[in-house]
Amino acid sequence: MMARDRVTRRNFLRLAGGAAALAAGGWRAGPAAAQADEIKIGALYPLSGSLALVGAGSKRAVDLAVEIVNTAHPELAPLTLAAPAGLPRLGGRKIRVVWADAKDPATARAEAERLIDQEKVVALMGCYASAFTATASLAAETKGIPFLNAESSSPTLTQRGFKWFFRTGPHDAMFTTMFYQMFADLKKRGRRIARFAILSENTEFGATAARVEEEMGRQQGYQLGAREMYTSPPASLDAELTRIRAANPDVLIANGYLIDAVMTIKTLKTMGYVPPALVVQDSGYVVPDYLKSTGKDGWYVISRASWALGLGVRKPLVNKVNDLYRSRHNEDMDETNARSFTGLLTLADAINRGGGTSAIQILQGLLTTNVPAADMVMPWQGIKFDRDGQNMYASGVMVQILDGRYKVVWPFDLAETPIVWPAPAWNKR
């Protein structure tokens, strides 16, 4: 039966090809050639696809952090591991990051496994998008390898009871807590904030955030006027914003990506409506293209930020690091890759204090992490992991877009300029 021959031939070739690849130690060039004493850390970020830009930004920051660790930068002290070259407690050994592309959750996991099994990394970090982090860290957990996450904000990641998962950055609930703390502060100063509305995109990011925003709002006695979810990118937000305006909220909380953000502003302007305050979970509103697309219309938006360049006003270290980054890449750091940057330093620090490269040692190092506020570019009070692996001091600041820049406006003691609330109407700008 002739067709059968083809079955066998095709599959046979496939098999042969696979076996050959195997024999060669994998289709890619074999395990990245390592210097004898380099310590390999795996980094899994989206390097292709729609999140490629973000991944590229994190890569630049992480690579800079690696350089700072490996070479002596006494001028950046007291930044973690800046002063010495390499890891002092390990005899000055250097670290090396092996990069992999986290394209989707299944691939992220496969890549994590590859990094662990073939590249023999001692620890992993990544992946920005919570869905990718979820599966990649699963691989690390099953294999008993430490996984450090710096940028994913889904609260569920540290609610899984994992032993090897650590997160330095804040999660959505912590950010949202900030919102309400700020509202409370503002009410004390005489602002009227009683009713709120939510406009959110509905993937993992938006949906989780919206849920937390709503729960917290209700708990603290605010009234929910409207809650509009949409699929990003939206063809139009007319319907949603019309309903929101009808609800007359004192503050509109928005979670959206770039195109949503731009469309929100443009639609609001067309409607001639501006809510007293537009408070957002960064994302689309903090990407450089946002201001390029909206210009002055996009001002007065208040966003949470885990980091802002304006912190440099009170913390010179921030400016020093940013200047170094800027000299290499001709742009400022942003709050996403600032977290990635800090994440790598934290991991390196843990490896250093753990005294060795075995998984247990690194785990020990992470569990005993206690980085003081002065040693980082973040506005946190420190880095110390609780029982779930979450940095208990992770927090953020609120920035407002004023004069075309993101200025820290809350907490009031870190603020560089007074907050503008309510936002001025369209015809008064």
Partner: protein
């Protein structure tokens, strides 16, 4: 199974014992899971010709159903996966049933719309985890009843098994009547209906199997990846992926989708960084180009290309051993009236077909006006008339291709009356009516033999029997007809490559394979040379001797004179007159209407 095939499958089974590279095993697991979905797509889109662009909806249904049942009700995925498959099948019918009667674009779009709707709904459904998705309960790790393991080999073997089932199903389809019928429906659904093949029935069968299989793949995917959300298991680009795997590999073949799945998955895993890096998507540009090239030049994909390079004869659809020996006269089907070789003239025969007051309007045009005619059992009745008289319209109304505006068509069968008016063509055909078309309709992609096999008796054919090859009696019958019509030499040639005359003969033979009660022939000798005319006449006479009644439209007066017992003359949609051929020939009205004298 050939020894070589067994060796390959055997090697695949033993692979995990030898190869421990987890990354490679991961790739193979995904090849098997995606390959299953690609084969499932192939069943519907390759054989059935219904291209689904929303197939991921079944994948996601399987994944979500079994996962929800497991995490919420502790139901084992071994059971949950069947629930997912059932739900997916149901969903597929919701979309398929209404759109199958429309052109394929509608089905393609309807599946796309369905997939998007389901995705948006699930995205906003908190119970299903909405956007956050669902984690599989890790606390059940390493419990086989929960289909969760810590290592790759169990997943590998399970997905290999599913893939084998999928390939097996496609193989069975390819070699048995199901594949034959699907391909007739794909190539010419109306001609298939005229043979008694219900397009809807088999498309739904293919659809259901396809959806169920894809759902099973979805469950397995969930169990393996341990986390699902709408962006991974309900993502539209995955629908495209399944389709591309089948299309590029070769749709409508057994090996094509398997090859396509292996190629694309392994390529993406090992070389994806090179091509797809930087978000630039160069790989998809190539896929797009490849699809266009394949569409234009070689719709059978990679397999088609290879076949051209090294042509092999298609295996006969399940030909039983020694089927070639022809018997002199095929034994009649039990329900047919006994063959009467001679018929005394003047014997009153019971009426077989009664057409009463049939009228058909198309907007302002009245194509048929109050047509009444009767065909008695055992007769050969002719219908003639000038062009535009409504003859073919009459046939279409009788055989169900058009619904009459008024009037009735009744078939008398073994004493009882069956009302044919307004029924579906395939049903009418199954009552024992066969027809040919004015413009020849054969299945161009099927061989002459396969065309004849398609014409076998479909009345009362049990659904499950289509998973077997055609019975030997049918092969015999087909073989005989091939000889009688002189087409034996082109038995394995695709009908599309036959000459006009050969196709005419084939068309006639197809209609008569199953020995219908009544054969309606629309201009059977039009456009062919004298030799072929003689052959056709002989064939009609031979069948008539076996008890087939004929109603024949013809312009060729000599042929009608020779063959027909009675003639009806139609003009401007009305029956002008009827009677024996000699009388019609001399009728004044006929002469003036026909020849303008």
């Amino acid at each position: 199974m050939t020894p070589r095939a067994a060796a390959v499958w055997g090697a695949l089974v033993l692979l995990p014992a030898v190869v421990h590279n987890a990354y490679f095993l991961n790739g193979m697991i995904l090849v098997f899971i995606y390959g299953t979905a690609a084969q499932a797509w192939n069943l519907l889109g390759g054989y059935g010709g219904q291209l689904s662009f929303g197939h991921v909806v079944f994948f996601g249904t399987g994944a979500y159903t079994s996962t929800l049942l497991l995490s919420m009700a502790g139901v084992s995925p071994w059971i949950g996966m069947w629930a997912g498959a059932a739900l997916a099948t149901l969903l597929s019918f919701v979309v398929g049933y209404p759109t199958f009667r429309l052109r394929r674009h509608y089905f393609a779009l309807a599946t796309l719309a369905l997939a998007e709707m389901v995705r948006i709904l699930v995205l906003n459904w908190p119970l299903a985890g909405a956007a956050v998705g669902l984690y599989l309960p890790l606390r059940l790790m390493n419990r086989p009843w929960a289909m969760l393991w810590n290592t790759k080999p169990p997943y590998y073997l399970l997905s290999l098994a599913l893939f084998a089932v999928a390939c097996g199903l496609v193989l069975v389809t390819d070699r048995t009547r199901l594949g034959l019928y699907l391909r007739t429906i794909d190539q010419d659904e109306d001609a298939a209906a005229a043979l008694g093949i219900s397009g809807r029935r088999y498309k739904l069968l293919a659809m259901g199997l396809s959806a169920a299989l894809t759902a099973l793949a979805g469950t397995l995917f969930a169990q393996y990846v341990l986390y699902i959300d709408p962006s991974t298991v309900l993502d539209p680009s995955r629908s495209v992926l399944f389709a591309i795997m089948a299309l590029l590999g070769g749709r409508g073949t057994v090996v094509g989708p398997a090859a396509g799945a292996a190629f694309l998955t392994l390529l993406s895993q090992y070389a994806g960084g090179a091509l797809g890096g930087l978000g630039r998507g160069y790989d998809y540009v190539l896929y797009g180009l490849a699809i266009m090239v394949v569409a234009v030049y070689e719709p059978r994909g990679l397999v088609g290309v290879l076949e051209r390079l090294r042509p092999r004869p298609r295996p006969l659809p399940g030909a039983p051993a020694g089927a070639a020996a022809p018997s002199s006269v095929p034994s009649p089907d039990g329900a047919l009236p006994p063959a009467s070789a001679t018929r005394a003239p003047g014997d009153p025969q019971p009426p077989l077909l009664e057409v009463a007051g049939l009228s058909k309007r198309f907007g302002g045009l009245e194509a048929l006006r109050d047509v009444t005619l009767t065909v008695r059992r055992g007769e050969i009745v002719g219908v003639l008339g000038p062009n535009g008289a409504g003859k073919s319209t009459l046939f279409d109304c009788v055989t169900g291709f058009l619904a009459p505006s008024r009037g009735a068509v009744v078939l008398r069968r073994n004493g009882d009356r069956r009302i044919l008016t307004g029924r579906a063509p395939f049903w009418i055909a199954q009552q024992g009516l066969a027809r040919t078309f004015q413009l020849i309709r054969v299945f161009p992609g099927l061989t002459a033999l396969e065309n004849l096999l398609a014409g076998q008796e479909h009345d009362g054919e049990p659904l499950l029997s289509v998973f077997r090859a055609s019975p030997p009696a049918v092969f015999e019958q087909a073989g005989t007809l091939l000889r009688l019509t002189g087409l034996e030499a082109v038995r394995d040639t695709p009908a599309g490559q036959l000459s006009y005359g050969q196709q005419k003969l084939l068309g006639l033979a197809m209609a008569l394979v199953r020995r219908p009660r009544l054969a309606l022939l629309d201009e059977p000798v039009a456009g062919v040379n004298l030799t072929v005319i003689e052959r056709l006449k002989d064939h009609i006479r031979a069948q008539h001797a076996q008890g087939v009644t004929f109603l024949i439209i013809e312009h060729n007066i000599e042929v009608l004179m020779e063959l027909a017992d009675r003639l009806y003359f139609l003009a401007e949609g009305r029956v002008i007159t009827d009677g024996p051929p000699r009388a019609i020939q001399r009728n004044e009205e006929v002469l003036s209407l026909y020849y303008g004298r």
